[in-house]
Symmetry: C2
Subunit: 150 residues, 2 copies
DNA sequence: GGCAAACATTTGGCATACTAACTTTTGGTT
DNA sequence: AACCAAAAGTTAGTATGCCAAATGTTTGCC
């Protein structure tokens, strides 16, 4: 694979991983996806989070989170409640069902996490993670914009 | 970041990269996305490819490719032609406009490719790529299925 | 006290992506 | 020749994701 196909490699590898993971969740009769499970994990840790809190923590746009919470709410795994202190905000709470489903998902996700590491020493995994983490500085919102020369 | 958040790191890093890249393309007045550009590159290399060829080469499902080619065709960058040898197949051809747009995209994509490598020695990039490549074996279609124990 | 700016959330529009189901065609088997 | 399974492509349904715009609320500044 030529060097100028690094981005292609990242995209394709992530596609494979996502499909594999979500299929594994379905096969284990888990009724949430990986991304939805991430929300349930956060809410289990601390059950009072606004939409904005959640979207920042999982790193998606607010508008994406709306849909995620819609689906979780429809399935009975979370509930939206009005914030008593700020009428703009909604507090999202996880239900007992949501906690149970999150726990089921966690087992599968942990397994796949381990599968990623198979065949690679810890030092290599650290390098891998370090490069991925560098994306957060390098590819921050709008920094790709070159409007100045237009 | 704890070890069991490796998947989250991969997902989030890829999201940042994708958003940055597509914003950079828009900022440079490129009218195709990264994924669409990949199709144009392949067709520039060899201008006779079926839908199935393309979907395998860029690593997406046939049904995903249908939409990608729809959008490229609507923009005038590719054309579908009936295959003379197999009436099930379509041959996809890139237009001169498509080649020009692909070339414009390539400049931006190359730049972002280089940006990824900044700050990391080549050996570390090789490790990074090696781990991503391992996903193709580990996470092949359906291998996440554990129906045998259900 | 009033008004503009900032903030929280949703909506609508678009682009990937997958699975499942369907149509048409092909090709091999009997 | 008839049949039937596999292949090529599309469609429909669902799930992320983004951006831009709209709505309602809050806050800070004069």
């Amino acid at each position: 694979m030529k060097d100028d196909r690094l981005i292609f490699l990242i995209f394709t590898a992530q596609n494979k991983l996502r499909t594999y993971l979500n299929n594994a969740l379905v096969a284990a009769n888990v009724r949430v996806t990986f991304v939805q499970a991430g929300i349930l994990f956060l809410l289990k840790q601390s059950n009072v989070r606004t939409m904005s809190d959640l979207s920042q923590l999982i790193g998606v746009d607010n508008s994406t989170l709306t849909g995620l919470v819609d689906r979780l709410e429809k399935a009975g795994f979370v509930a939206r409640q009005a914030s008593p202190t700020d009428r703009r905000s909604l507090l999202i709470q996880v239900t007992p069902d949501g906690i149970a489903e999150g726990d089921k998902a966690k087992m599968i996700i942990k397994r796949v996490n381990e599968e990623i590491k198979i065949g690679f020493p810890p030092e290599e995994m650290e390098i891998f993670k370090g490069i991925l983490r560098s994306f957060f500085e390098k590819f921050n919102k709008n920094s790709g914009n070159r409007n100045d020369d237009v």
